[in-house]
Amino acid sequence: MKKFVEFFTSLKLTVVLLAFSIVLVFVGTLAQADEGLYGAQAHYFKQWIVIGAHMFGHKIPLVLPGGYLLGVLLLVNLVTTHVYRFELTWKKTGIQLAHAGVIVLLVGQLSTDLLSRELQMRFTGGESRNYSDSATQYELIFRNGDEVTAIAEKILKPGTELKLASLPFTIRVKEHWRNSDLNFRAPMMQNAPPLTTNGVALNFDFHQTEDVKTTDQRNVPTLLLEFLTPAGSLGAWVASDWCGDAALVAAVRDGYAQMGASMAQKIAGALTAPQSLTVDGKNYTFLVRPARVIHPFMLTLLKATHTTYPGTDIPKDFRSRVRIDNQASGEHREVEISMNHPLRYGGYTFYQYQMDAGEMAAQAGRKPSSVLSVVRNPGWLTPYIGCTMVGIGLTIQFLYHLVGFVTKKRTP
């Protein structure tokens, strides 16, 4: 125990951890050019041990402690030192307060990492939403009347067979592509055989693509599934986010615009045609969509405004005016959400994220629309508290030194 305390309260450990942190942050920043922001976060920071790194387009063999490991060790180092070295003297107040603040920050970040959820709410003017979509996670859903079964994307690994009580068939996952693209199977062309002869795959070829690298793009997953009943197979089917997302469908339609508006419309129609299975006289429609969180209240987009500086395209302001309707609390009120002015409501925070409004949208004939980023983070206050503590602590310490320095100068 004594050895343990000695090790964890040593200043040398702090120094080593700080040095490794610097190296890790530097490597993790450089790697973003190759691996993308999300990739680098997962590889370096949200990680215990980092093996191999990317720098300037080259793979470099090296092993580093990951962000989690360094964070936890620093936390242990700080807490034990605090416990065993605590002294209530003026000389130490500042330093101790500052370090306590760092503890708050570290704990806060760890809790944010574990507990926070990032979602999005997208709507056009006049629409209402009582749910938010995940920006990064998807789910496979089966709908039979009002009954909905949702399966998270991450448990649908290739080769898995799933049998759920609410569904009268077994799902066998044949392929799971985290990001995918598609091509229209034009008739009269020399096409390779389709992935499967059911549903949307008859008209479209889906194929896997690399994961996206930047935060303003997102993966579009596609699944190749087979449904099995005791009576036999219902065949293989493709389920893809390409078929359900309005923006993606519009992009596909615009991509085939040169084939004529009606043909493009037909292609879009083939993409969105619902796919369903009939088992024991019951009809199950299935699709892939972003994972959804249902709120006990409803937001309605009343107005989306996008202003630019005169004579330029430089955005000056984005703001969404929304109405909150909460039956439980009887609230019906309007609020304005703009850049730097989020709405905190019902345990979630709603931020102005993207916007398609103003002259550009009007000229292209699109209705104004707005995307809110919706975040649930129970630890959101910790940075405020931690920062205040460190700021005050370091200021006290600094003034203590400065006063000492000046008085020493005055009385040689």
């Binding site: 005169p310 984005f318 959101w380 030194h401």
Partner: protein
């Protein structure tokens, strides 16, 4: 006598430099055409109201990389080539293209580009670097074709030649905008043509309506009218500056082309349109008196409708002419030299002179900083350019405070060297265009700009001060005999104190940045490159402090660590922007990358010097004991 000299030299030097500064700032008299007054006219460009002078200077900076135009660049400096002001250049580009289009204002350096465009090499009538619009014009198609290819290449992987293509294309299109700002470019006698257009409006409209309805119409009137409209539509497509103040009862500034195209829709042309036309006519016809009279009319018209815009424009012209940062830079050099000399002959007069001059430079620097803040209505740092100015300012203040306590010239050298370097960096960043650009939506918040950005930049400034103090320690120690034990000790104490200060500010600034991100995007920390850069500064400073407390490093270790702090800060300030990723990326410039690398190598070199055994240091190589035999 000597006493008097010692006493009065510093104030005398200060007076001389102050007079030099005021002499630079005073306005030159207009001899014929009142270009000085023209330069004060307010216009709206890049989203803000500014004087013609700023449009002129920024455009010329972008096109020629200088704020003045040499119309005879092939002459050596002693042959007295004709140099004209940016405003005179702009007035002629806008209103007298017959003359301006022959001025060699486009700077082209890349030899491949010069040969692609078949431009003349160095000769009696060309300096092989500067070319006119008329010289470039025959090759516009070639340039556009190359540019279409270059646009598909990602900016980070472009060659020097491809960068030169993209740059020249930008310069040409800016020039094209300016030519079509006040009148259709290449038009003969604009006032006459404008009157003709106004006369034709009802006739042309009638003809157009008749043609639509399939009735008989006046073909001549119709053709001329349609000709005017298509010329004005071409002007409108270029998105030139908005020169016309809001019409009565409206709020929006307008382009000349907007007003011309709105006339047939029943909006009569206002006085400003006619006044500008008179200006154009008078300049093209070389009639200074008419030009100045029309200008006076136009100014009184704007003074009536837009008094605030006119005042703001005049204030900005004064600021442009004052060039506070350039002048401060020159005085910093002088002060730094005096302070360095003071170490060698240990002259108190030299040191005091350096202190006085640094105060003068700081006063000018501060005036510029505050003036900018008032003009913009913003906290001091809004972009990379102003961050350089503010880092310099903060470092100079810190250096002067150190000098106040230690009185050994060290604070002054640090202040003046960092002041000079940061202002030189700012000077080069200003080549990118308007330094008072508008803030994008997410940045449009004075609260966070005033807290987070200022705290982080003070953190940068103080880390640099510590680093430069350390450089002085090493350079004086290794190369001179002036570093005695007491000076070394006091330097180490200064470095330690400044590192504490830097830790405080960079930590608070970084966390405030996280809180801002939480307020606008819903995440406190996102591992964005700029965030990471700031975090590394905090960690590095914290590391230095812990190493020191643990006794793992002593005086020399501290000094070497502080120098490495310079590299860490440069990486965060510029390096991460060059990665071309993340929320704070401003694009990759080869020149900036080269300088950054040079800086890093020089700092590593100094650290290597710092690691040399003490017996090779000039200051410590003397025999340890000097007792008489």
């Amino acid at each position: 006598m000597k006493m008097i000299l010692q006493k009065w030299t510093p104030p005398f030097l200060l007076l001389v430099m102050a007079l030099w500064f005021f002499g630079n700032a005073s306005a030159p008299k207009d001899k014929t055409f009142a270009y000085g007054e023209f330069s004060q006219l307010p216009v709206t460009f890049n989203g803000r109201v500014k004087p013609m002078d700023s449009v002129a200077r920024n455009s010329l900076l972008e096109i020629r990389e200088k704020q003045t135009l040499n119309t005879e660049p092939w002459k050596a400096w002693n042959e007295q080539p004709k140099i004209i002001s940016a405003s005179e250049w702009l007035a002629n580009v806008m209103m007298n293209s017959a003359v301006a289009d022959d001025w060699p204002c486009f700077r082209v350096d890349n030899p491949d580009l010069i040969s692609l465009l078949k431009l003349p090499e160095k000769s009696a009538k060309s300096d092989g670097k500067h070319y006119s619009w008329n010289q470039l014009m025959p090759m516009f198609d070639t340039l556009a074709k190359e540019n279409a290819r270059v646009e598909k290449v990602e900016s980070a992987s472009r060659t020097a030649y491809e960068n030169a293509i993209a740059k020249l294309e930008q310069r040409v299109s800016l020039y094209a905008q300016l030519r079509n700002t006040l009148q259709p470019a290449d038009i003969q006698n604009w006032p006459l043509q404008l009157a003709e257009y106004e006369r034709l409006i009802p006739l042309g409209l009638a003809a157009a309506q008749a043609q639509q309805a399939g009735r008989q119409f006046d073909q001549t009137n119709f053709n001329i009218f349609v000709g005017y409209i298509s010329t004005f539509q071409f002007m409108a497509g270029l998105e030139a500056p908005l020169v016309l103040p809001p019409a009565d009862g409206e709020h929006q500034w307008r382009r000349m082309s907007d007003a011309l195209l709105a006339a047939p829709k029943g909006k009569p042309l206002d006085a400003a349109v006619h006044d500008y036309a008179k200006l154009c006519g008078a300049l093209a016809a070389n009639q200074p008196d008419q030009f100045n009279a029309a200008l006076a009319d136009l100014r009184s018209e704007i003074a009536r409708t837009q008094p605030q815009a006119l005042d703001k424009a005049r204030a900005e012209v004064f600021f442009n002419r004052m060039e506070p940062f350039y002048n401060a830079m020159v005085i910093y050099i002088l002060a730094g030299l005096l302070a360095v000399f003071s170490w060698f002959n240990l002259s108190e007069t030299l040191r005091r002179s350096a202190v006085w001059l640094t105060w003068l430079a700081l006063a000018i620097h501060t005036t510029g900083l505050v003036y900018r803040m008032v003009l913009e209505g913003r906290p001091p740092v809004t972009n990379l350019y102003s961050s350089a100015i503010f880092i310099g300012w903060g470092s100079v203040v810190l250096g002067l405070i150190l000098e106040k306590f230690h009185k050994n010239g060290i604070g002054i050298v640090v202040a003046s060297v960092i002041g000079f370097l940061t202002l030189i960096i700012a000077h080069h960043l200003a080549l990118e265009g308007d330094t008072m650009e508008m803030m994008r939506a997410v940045l449009d918040t004075n609260f966070w700009l005033a807290t987070h950005v200022v705290a982080v930049t003070v953190g940068y400034a103080s880390t640099y001060v510590a680093g430069f103090l350390a450089l002085i320690y090493i350079l004086r120690g290794v190369f001179t005999k002036t570093l005695d034990a007491a000076t070394g000790k006091s330097l180490a104490r200064m470095i330690y104190g400044i590192v504490c200060f830097a830790t405080l500010f960079s930590f608070v600034g970084t966390v405030l940045g996280g809180i801002w991100a939480d307020q606008s995007w819903g995440r406190f920390w996102g591992w964005d490159p700029k965030e990471n850069g700031a975090l590394i500064i905090v960690l590095w400073n914290a590391l230095i402090l812990h190493l020191r407390w643990g006794g793992i490093i002593r005086e020399r270790g501290l000094v070497n660590c502080a120098i490495f702090g310079n590299i860490v800060t440069a990486w965060s300030w510029f390096g991460v922007n060059m990665l071309g990723i993340g929320l704070h990326s401003y694009g990759f410039t080869e020149a900036a990358f080269k300088w950054l690398m040079l800086f890093v190598v020089s700092q590593l070199g100094c650290i290597a010097l710092g690691l040399l055994p003490l017996k090779w240091w000039k200051s410590f190589s003397r025999a340890p004991v000097n007792t008489p035999a």
